[in-house]
Amino acid sequence: MVDLTTEYIGLKLANPLVPSASPLSHDTDSARRLEDAGASALVMYSLFEEKIEAEEHQMERFFYQQSIGHNESVSFHPMPDNIQTYQEQYLEHLQQLKSALAIPVIASLNGTSLSGWVEYGKQLQQAGADALELNIYHVAANAEESGDAVEQRYLDILQELKGQVSVPIVMKLSSQFSSPIHFAKRLEVAGADGIALFNRFYQPDIDLETLEVVPKLELSSSAEALLRIRWTALLYGRTKLSLAVTGGFHQTPDVLKALLAGADVVHLCSVLLKHGVGRLAEILLELEQWLLEHEYDSVNQLKGSVSQQHAIDPSAYERANYVQVLDSYSSPAGVLR
């Protein structure tokens, strides 16, 4: 038997496979199926700051400010007093998941600013969240905002949240930091317990018919895993933060590579959405088989064994290999260069 257990942000997990925030946690049944398939923990779908605000604005606009100033109609909608807000629904769902599952449940907060939504952390903790994942979904599009300011935004929100909760906090990061390792260390100092590499932004797309810019969600592909693996390898051993990888982990080899690079857990999402919850059990089995075949005793033995610190060629994780890769590319036959 191989010991598949791993420790992540202080949580003892049965294995490193943790479904990330996705619609799969929207209903208790599919969450239970994930657990049955072997998920060692579950990151709940995200509570979006944007959605909280949109809901408040909708209520403001269509309930509290209904009047158009006409004699016959001071309002157009009944004013419900039994509204269950998006946050309340999230909390209730968290409680349901907690009572339905034995594995840890990590609540996910998704936002960009320092406002009231962060206060929600306390209630998430009270509702039973074993940890919080904080996904700061910030696109640094403001020319006036420096890189430092962007980092400070993360730190401020983290500290605000730390003031609310005692459960571990994972920061889900963007891949677009100038100096990710330095920033990870700053997060560590600020009290983070782990980081998840990396979030994936919806990419705006141009509709060729209407010329409108529309958001587009593409499921990840294995190709994206390599970026995460590289930075995991670079971070491993340089920080006490737990490391999670997320985005592009579809096949067992992707998972193995992440663990070799130093990840404590590997988040799965697109692969489960595409192939169903059962795929998790298959990966887990294949992982175990690989470890057995390659005579590893445990996941811990494997973890970080090909990080930069332990890599055969540490420089391969750095910039040098960029040139090599480009040079190695040749066009298919018949394509003019």
């Binding site: 403001e60 400010q65 006409h70 004699n71 909608h77 004013m79 807000t85 009231g116 939504w117 010329l211």
Partner: protein, 1212 residues
């Protein structure tokens, strides 16, 4: 007697509170101003709030007030305690059942927000015309004068009816009392329990119809016994006044508030007494108190119980010294020699005096007068005038007060500047806001804050606009240590505080006319402190100097923007009021506002609470006191919004109403029969839009779509020869006319009416053309209005001066062609981005010159026919739609009557024409009789022929010729359009609509389907979709929308179209053309997004598209004309649903809110609705693919059709 909790609520809420507590069945139907009583009852029941006996009352919305009365009658007969709420025409619809209910001695209380009846014009405002029309039903009538009395009398009425078995109308003045917000003492359950004797309830239940104790009620009676049976109830009516007084006495013991059937106030030795009922009595009491302190000796008798009329109590209440009695009626009975209350009082006094046992030594003189019709103001000056008149030896009888009657000279003169000292300790404030800027809700909050945080009495009354876009609201607030009896608006020189929340009002309204000396004027203005004085009109500057106004200014929008409130200034302006009015200590006021904000948004809106707090904190720093200069410096003044070029009537009458001086118009200024000229909206330049569309000639392909979608007809196109441009202003835009149908040398212009545009942006949204180098630039784009106003005004005037293009030369079956036609419906007061008006405008473009419109009451009759200005207009030849609104329920029949009359006149004209063949010449006669008027050319030629005929007829000196001369225009085609909303077509008017569809007559019915009662505030109709949240369906409508189209198709000879203009504009256009061409009934059911859907109407087109694509609103046309050609009449114009129904419903608050209140139901409804739209589409698709012949009908083929789910089952 314990301390009673006080709440600051309006009269309707007060009535509904008691009614909901004391009933088990509540049948409702919306009608202004009573609608909110039903809304409250429905809301409380849907929240599970129980009545006095611990059970939740059943609230059911009916299809009409007649239905509500029927349901109540049934519920009462079955032994429940049941009630309803209504007003005006609604009460009239209940009359037949009211006779029955009273005839059967059935206890119930109907709560009535008394309102005018539709006579020469509709009015939603308050008077006693409705209740007086019901006084013969046998119902008792109890009148309350203030929100407190509404609550108290509601309970007294319920107690008395249960004991005495006489049903009661409990009524109070619409708006003045129903909508006045006041601080009142609440009745708790203990008081109610003590008032309602369980034995009476048991007795009522024992009289119920039940098969366990079968009996029969409601026989048909013959001459032998009917009369006696009718008299058998007398003892009950005789006993009732005593029962009501006992209930009042019992109530007084419980609450300390004492009432009498006839309540006398004033001098015990008064010689002059006013007798009246309703809110006006409060103003009289206030005035007489002052007069008596000034040494006069006058009195007032308030009539509480009007029916059964207890003459003895009335006489007992009058002082023996009384010599002159002025009886005031708030109703008019044309042709009578006095109004009802006057006649009753006169009869009582005369009978008493003639008995020889009167306490009066001489018979008092009794005169009657009318006041306050349709909420006309009733002020201390008027009241004093009445008392003064009573000093005359022969006081005027049948007088009017409050108007200037220069025709029959009925009116009394009054001193408008007369004031009592009632407001010496009262703080009076007025606020001018836009309907949508939250001013009213902030003021309601202010009243609650002051009402609940202090011992002060509080009163709030709100005056709204008759327009739905850019509507102004004027809030009148009073606070004071003494009870406030001022049931009239704050008047000239009275206000201690004036708040102007929008700078646009500066150039429109004389706001400071009402300011008192040393009053505070608070202005929300973007102008910096040093320049704000210069932004005021000269008149206002002068008033400020003369009245020593204390002037404060804030840039509320800047504070809102900075604090994250966007464009919401309500909290900011409320904070300013508290900061500078001194009504409350500033610190306390700010804390109270914050508390109120938290109470409003609570935990549901943490973020909004934070933003509001921030705005409150930042307000004080941005509020500036502006020192007054000593002299007027402004070069401009408040301007008339009517141009000098307007016709005399418009200037003399319409202009005065627009300027807010309608009250001063004399009787002679009014048309005697309610007939007004059309085309008046064009004279009122409202300048609402901050941005207006600007046409880009280099990009435009002249598709006409922008004209098609404009809800206010402010963007137009015209084609004209290039020579016309010789006199064009330099900035006038034009482009060569494109298209093979047009000869060379023509130009086209798309022109915007800059001062009529509401800035809805829908034209820009619809424009399909984008700049190849800049995707954000379209062929039409929004730009700030102020810099464009002057030039575009000139361009618009020039555009109007260009002759219309010849209709015969246009391809009206194309959007491009039809959109060159002049709209004869323009600049309505409809909401910004209204989804209804583009359909009406389209009809007016295509058929307006031959259109007669029957318009059901509702949004379309309000934006279509509410004074002062109306949008229906005429073309340069003087032709245009003739429009009328009869009622809500009868519109289909009203239109059918028009059709029948026109057809009859046409038939008669043809008969006369045939008879006059000899003198007129066969050629002309045959040409007229056989004319083909199926297209524009045919109609044009027929009009030419008829013009020639009329010239001939003038010279024929016989009766037939002269009769034909009067009727000749009916030889030209006339198009009858029956227009209304879904409340009319699906609910209250459905019976009539069905009959008209079945009549086979050539009428065109346009149903503007907003899927709720829009005008009265979004109540559920049978057009409301499954799962939509609307008033009366707070938990989501549990049943599917009625398929009106399918019902209409059942007749086979009815043309039916289901359209959404933004889904497919050509389909809409074709539907209108085909409906008109169909020689029989046509019905177009048009999808109309509405603010009641909980979506911003700038997304109007998106919502229509989502509705079509999701299958919510399939597009199709059913043309029975095709059956005769052996073709299938059903043509589907939209493809199979291509997006999930969820994608449609999640974009509209009316659906999406259900996920927050009843998530499981929401999912269940969604699933069902998804299946329904699939089934429905499938059903129509099969229908469209069937082989038809003349004997086939929809109902005949129905059996062959299968639902989508059945098909799936078949397919295994």
């Amino acid at each position: 007697m314990k301390n009673q909790q006080t709440l600051t609520i309006d009269g309707n809420q007060a009535a509904a509170t008691v009614a909901h507590k004391l009933n088990e069945v509540i049948a409702i139907y919306p009608i202004t101003p009573s609608s909110t009583m039903g809304e409250w009852a429905d809301e409380w029941s849907s929240r599970g709030q129980v009545n006095l006996w611990g059970t939740v009352p059943q609230v059911i919305e009916m299809q009409s007030e007649a239905g509500a009365a029927g349901a109540i009658h049934g519920a009462l007969q079955a032994g429940s305690m049941a009630t309803t709420f209504t007003a005006s025409q609604g009460l009239l619809l209940m009359l037949p059942n009211m006779y029955k209910i009273a005839g059967e001695l059935t206890p119930t209380v109907f709560h009535i927000a008394a309102r005018s009846l539709a006579c020469q014009g509709l009015s939603i405002f308050g008077d006693h015309s409705d209740v007086m029309s019901a006084r013969m039903t046998g119902f008792g009538m109890l009148c309350s004068n203030s929100p407190q009395e509404v609550m108290d009398f509601a309970l007294i009425a319920h107690a008395a009816t249960l004991e005495g078995r006489i049903p009661l109308m409990h009524f109070f003045d619409g708006f003045r009392t129903s909508h006045e917000v006041a601080k009142i003492a609440m009745l708790d359950d203990d008081v109610m329990l003590a008032m309602i004797n369980e034995e009476w309830v048991a007795a009522h239940r024992n009289r119920a119809l039940t098969p366990d104790r079968p009996m029969l009620r409601g026989t048909a009676q013959n001459p032998d016994v009917y009369f006696q049976a009718r008299e058998s109830v007398n003892a009950y009516y005789q006993a009732m006044p005593g029962i009501v007084q006992r209930a009042m006495d019992g109530f007084a013991k419980l609450t300390g508030r004492s009432y009498r059937l006839f309540e006398y106030v004033g001098s015990p030795e008064a010689e002059r007494v006013i007798v009246m009922m309703g809110s006006g009595a409060e103003a009289v009491e206030e005035t007489l108190d002052y007069l008596n302190r000034q040494g006069e000796s006058v009195g007032l008798l308030k009539v509480r119980l009007y029916r059964p009329f207890d003459a003895a109590s009335l006489l007992a209440a009058l002082p023996a010294t009384c010599r002159k009695i002025g009886v005031l009626d708030r109703t008019k009975e044309p042709g009578a020699d006095g109004e009802p209350l006057y006649k009753d009082v006169l009869g009582a006094v005369a009978q008493d005096f003639s008995s020889g046992e009167s306490k009066f030594s001489v018979m008092p003189k009794v005169v009657g007068g009318r006041y306050g019709l349709s909420s006309k103001e009733f002020t201390p000056g008027m009241i004093k005038a009445i008392y003064d008149e009573l000093k005359q030896a022969q006081p005027k009888n049948n007088f009017t007060i409050g108007i200037h009657d220069d025709v029959t000279h009925s009116s009394l003169d009054w001193d408008a500047s007369y004031r009592t000292d009632a407001h010496a300790d009262t703080f009076q404030a007025m606020f001018y806001g836009l309907g949508s800027d939250g001013t009213v809700s902030a003021n309601k909050n202010t009243i609650k804050i002051i009402g609940e945080a202090t011992d002060l009495h509080a009163q709030g009354y709100f005056v709204y606009d008759s327009k739905k876009s850019g509507a102004i609201t004027v809030s009148h607030l009073r606070f004071g240590p003494k009870p406030i009896r001022s049931t009239y608006l704050i008047g000239e020189n009275d206000a201690d505080f004036i708040g102007c929340h929008q700078t646009i009002f500066l150039e429109r309204y004389d706001m400071l006319a009402n300011a008192a000396e040393n009053a505070v004027f608070l202005l929300n203005s973007p102008e910096p402190v040093e320049r704000v004085w210069a932004s005021l009109p000269a008149r206002m500057q002068q008033q400020m100097i003369d009245k020593k106004i204390r002037f404060y200014v804030i840039d509320g929008y800047e504070v809102a923007e900075k604090s994250g409130m966007g464009k919401r200034i309500n909290t900011i302006m409320q904070t300013c009021f508290f900061a500078i009015s001194g009504v409350l200590p500033q610190e306390k006021a700010l804390a109270d506002i914050k508390h109120a904000v938290e109470k409003t948004y609570g935990k549901k809106g943490h973020h909004i609470v934070e933003l509001n707090f921030k705005a409150i904190d930042e307000t004080l720093a941005s509020l500036h006191s502006v020192p007054l200069p000593t002299a007027v410096s402004s070069q401009f003044d408040i301007q008339s919004r009517i141009s000098d070029a307007a016709p005399d009537f418009i200037k003399r009458v319409t202009g005065e109403i627009i300027a807010g001086r309608g009250d001063a118009l004399p009787v002679s200024a009014m048309p005697v029969d309610g007939t007004f000229p059309t085309g008046t909206a064009a004279y009122e330049k409202r300048n609402l839009a901050l941005e207006i569309p600007v046409w880009e000639t280099d990009l435009c392909t002249q598709c006409g779509k922008c004209v098609m979608v404009c809800p206010h007809s402010v963007i137009r196109s015209k084609i004209y020869p290039i020579e016309v441009l010789a006199n064009a202003p330099a900035t006038f835009k034009h482009a060569p006319m494109l298209g093979k149908d047009f000869p060379a040398g023509l130009e086209i212009t798309y022109q915007v009416a800059p001062e009529d545009c509401t800035g809805c942006t829908l034209c820009v949204d619809m424009c399909p053309i984008r700049d190849k180098s800049n995707a954000s630039r379209k062929a039409i784009n929004m730009q700030p209005q102020p810099p464009l106003r002057e030039t575009e005004r000139d361009n618009w005037d020039f555009f109007l001066s260009i002759p219309e293009y010849d209709r015969r030369l246009l391809k009206t079956n194309t959007i491009k062609g039809s959109m060159v036609l002049q709209p004869l419906f323009e600049f309505s007061g409809a909401c910004v981005g209204c989804g209804e008006t583009p359909y009406i405008k389209l009809a007016s473009q295509l058929f307006g010159d031959r259109m007669v419109v029957a318009n059901a009451t509702g949004c379309s009759s309000i934006y279509g026919g509410n004074l002062p200005t109306t949008p229906w207009t005429k073309n340069p030849e003087g032709r245009g739609p003739a429009w009328s609104n009869s009622l809500f329920e009868d519109n289909a029949e009203f239109g059918l009557g028009m059709r029948i009359a026109l057809d009859k006149q046409n038939e008669y004209a043809r008969e006369l024409l045939s008879a006059l063949r000899e003198p007129l010449g066969g050629e002309l006669v045959d040409a007229i009789l056989n004319a083909d008027q199926s297209d524009e050319a045919g109609i044009y030629e027929q009009r030419e022929r008829v013009a020639a005929l009329k010239r001939h007829l003038q010279f024929l000196n016989n009766q037939s010729a002269q009769t034909l001369l009067q009727l000749a225009d009916n030889l030209c085609k006339k198009s009858v359009w029956i227009i209304g909303g879904d409340g009319w077509a699906y609910d209250i008017g459905f019976g009539g609509l069905d009959h008209v569809l079945a009549s086979g007559r050539n009428v065109n019915i346009l149903v503007l389907d907003t899927e709720v009662y829009s005008n009265t505030g979004g109540q559920t109709s049978k057009a409301t979709p499954l799962g939509a949240v609307a008033k009366f369906s707070a938990g989501g409508k549990a049943t599917a929308k009625k398929d009106l189209a399918l019902l209409a198709m059942d007749y086979s000879n009815v043309y039916v179209a289901h359209v959404a203009y933004a889904g497919k504009d050509t389909q809409t256009l074709n539907a209108f053309l085909e409906a008109e061409a169909h020689d029989g009934p046509s019905i177009i059911i048009a999808y109309a997004p509405c603010i009641a859907h909980g979506v911003d109407l700038s997304n109007n087109h998106r919502q229509q598209n989502l509705a079509v694509k999701s299958g919510h609103w399939p597009l199709f046309r059913f043309d029975p004309g095709k059956i005769k050609q052996g073709k299938n009449p059903m043509h589907l114009d939209s493809p199979e649903p291509s997006i999930p129904y969820r994608d449609f419903v999640k974009t509209e608050t009316r659906f999406s809110m259900l996920w927050q209140t009843h998530p499981e139901d929401a999912e269940r409804f969604l699933e069902q609705a998804q299946q329904d739209v699939k089934n429905r589409y499938h059903y129509y698709k099969q229908l469209s693919e069937l082989e038809w012949n003349e004997s086939t009908s929809v109902s005949a083929v129905k059996a062959q059709l299968k639902s989508e789910s059945a098909k799936e089952t078949d397919n295994g």
